[in-house]
């Protein structure tokens, strides 16, 4: 039997690591950013990929969490989460030095195209992490990308908002709240919320995005691609915005998972393409999909 056949091309691409907690930051609304030493995972992760984490030894089922940042040299990864259930609550209680088992990196990430350098990244709530990862990837790339990041949240943002020094002529000056990390990379970011937070746009992320898209010329619009992650209603709205402006759009989906390596088909979603209807696994066929194939008109 040919050992290097096509069916075996993915062998050994995902790692099981006993990661150790090297930093824990907490934010209002029971939000946490945890930095984990997991060198193998860090080395292969791409924006959009995720880890399957065991929150605590007493809770055997793992949870998928998007990777927000990696440092390949120092061998760490960072994840952001909101403590919705018992598992993530246990994870939020971890202290520096604690060990947690991590499987990763998993999944196909975002693939930006140099033909569309005006990348619009839209992240909502716990969908923010892959947008930060993608922004950092674009920032570190040699190519001249022109990213704009829009984030939405109905609870306080999981970072200490700063006033942006990067001008956005298409938007009123007082809407200048931004994410410090993105600001430090020279990437403009703007925030949206229905809560009326100071410095934030009052409305939906898609309303804010539309303002920017309306300010662009036809030739500029042809260079735009949307990337998004967040709650399903938001992704649907982003997909229909993309359709309205005839833009390419990649979305990262979430679904309950069991194995996260393609073994159980527990995470499958309906995907419609020119090949017809198929059920695709979010874990290994995604989590990033072409928005037009997962959200029908």
């Amino acid at each position: 039997m040919n050992v290097t056949n096509a069916a075996q091309r993915n062998r050994g691409t995902i790692f099981v690591e006993d990661a150790s907690v090297i930093d824990v930051q907490s934010f209002p609304g029971k939000q946490f950013v945890i930095r984990l030493h997991a060198a193998k995972c860090a080395a292969r992760a791409t924006a959009g990929s995720f880890i399957h984490i065991q929150c605590d030894e007493t809770i055997p089922m793992r949870r998928p969490l998007s990777i927000m940042r990696v440092d390949v040299t120092e061998g760490w990864i960072e994840v952001l989460f909101k403590t919705v259930g018992e598992g993530l609550r246990a994870l939020g209680n971890k202290k520096i030095g604690d060990a947690v088992s991590v499987i990763g990196p998993i999944g196909h990430g975002f693939v930006p195209s140099s033909e569309r350098p005006r990348t619009l990244l839209i992240g909502g709530g716990v969908g923010i992490p892959p947008m930060v990862f993608l922004a950092e990837t674009l920032h570190e790339d040699n190519f001249d990308w022109h990213p704009l990041v829009i984030m939405g949240s109905e609870i306080p943002f999981p970072f200490d908002m700063t006033t942006s020094a990067i001008p956005t002529p298409w938007l009123a000056d007082e809407i200048s709240g931004s994410m410090p990390l993105l600001e430090s990379w020279g990437i403009p970011s703007r925030l949206a919320s229905l809560q009326g937070y100071d410095g934030c746009f009052r409305g939906y992320v898609t309303d804010l995005a539309r303002k920017w898209l309306m300010s662009l010329s036809k030739s500029e619009l042809a260079e735009v691609e949307l990337f998004s992650c967040g709650p399903t209603p938001m992704l649907k709205a982003v997909a229909s915005l993309a359709r309205e402006f005839d833009l390419a759009c990649q979305v990262s989906l979430e679904e309950f998972m069991a194995c996260a390596v393609g073994g159980c088909a527990g995470c499958a979603v309906r995907v419609t393409s020119s090949d017809g209807v198929a059920m695709k696994r979010v874990c290994v066929d995604g989590p990033v999909f072409d928005a037009a194939t997962v959200f029908a008109e």
């Binding site: 995902i14 055997p60 089922m61 159980c264």
Partner: protein, 297 residues
């Protein structure tokens, strides 16, 4: 049929045999056999989301037998498997007795090592009740498959019935070479806020440590019938470590199935293999077969 390890990786948890090899350090050689995903005559898309849900010490699943149909499995998937690494078993499913027979016939003419019959599927000619819940209906399915193949046949018994001994007896009479005990226990989960079922299919199969005590008893009862007939039992249901595996062997299992525990720890097989070897040594058993059914009472 001889297996190199007493561990069998269970149907529905390891896709079509290659999925877990994505994990670095996982080898198909660590399992004595791998049972492929349930396969039907025609392709099936499976159920809508959510298909899996975590429950206390276990999980519910309702995948809906998503599979590409037996022709694709035999023609396109089996050629990609390395049969020198382990034994591969099919898991045959159907909506009618004729379906089961046809799928078995197709696998008979393939390199597959053995054929497991998943009699827990709904019988569409009898209002959708599961074949496996009734001993006579179970036996009819087994007999129909027996007539189609000379490969070893394993009848996979359902726990959702009054007396598993009667079912075991009739399946053995119908020509089963081995029994797999147990399949999942039917259950459901409700979201009280929306008053909706969480599983897309409403009902799902419960697996994992939560069902272990049920499985142990059923294995022991099936062994009371199978043992005297020299019919091996593949014990399964919540086995997550070597101690669990040893308990199942003592109850009467010749081999042990591992499914849900792989989701907890993808590298659990080597740990179970080592733990069993250690136990045999400490208790002066020459092999697993000497330990089978040695429950003292």
């Amino acid at each position: 049929m001889r297996l190199d390890s007493p561990i069998v990786l269970l149907s529905g948890c390891v896709g079509f045999g290659e999925e877990y090899t994505r994990i670095e350090g996982f080898s198909n050689r660590d399992a004595g056999a791998i049972v492929l995903k349930g396969t039907t005559l025609e392709p099936r898309l499976g159920n809508p989301p959510h298909r899996v849900y975590e429950t206390p010490m276990g999980m519910l699943n309702a995948i809906g037998l998503q599979n590409p149909g037996v022709d694709k499995v035999v023609d396109e998937i089996l050629p990609g498997l390395d049969f020198t690494e382990t034994r591969f078993m099919a898991n045959v499913c159907g909506s009618t007795i004729e379906d089961y027979a046809a799928v078995t016939r197709r696998f008979d003419d393939s390199p597959i090592d053995a054929i497991e019959i998943n009699i827990s599927c709904p019988n569409i000619k009898e209002g959708g009740v599961s074949f496996g819940n009734y001993p006579e209906m179970s036996a009819k399915v087994v007999a129909a498959c027996r007539a189609q193949t000379s490969k070893p046949i394993i009848a996979k018994l359902s726990p959702n019935q009054t007396d598993i001994r009667e079912n075991a007896r009739l399946c053995i009479e119908a020509g089963a070479d081995a029994l797999a005990v147990i399949n999942t226990v039917m259950g459901m989960a409700i979201d009280a806020e929306s008053r909706k079922p969480i599983i897309g299919n409403v009902r799902g199969g419960l697996s994992g440590p939560a069902i272990k005590p049920i499985a142990l008893l059923k294995v022991h009862q099936a062994y009371e019938v199978a043992g005297p007939n020299n019919i091996p039992v593949i014990g399964q249901g919540g086995i997550s470590n070597a101690a669990d595996a040893i308990e199942f062997i003592i109850a009467g299992a010749s081999t042990v199935g591992v499914g849900t525990a792989l989701f907890y720890d993808p590298l659990v097989c080597t740990k179970i293999n080592d733990g069993i070897a250690d136990y045999l040594k400490r208790h002066n058993f020459a092999s697993v077969s000497d330990l089978v059914g040695t429950l003292q009472y």
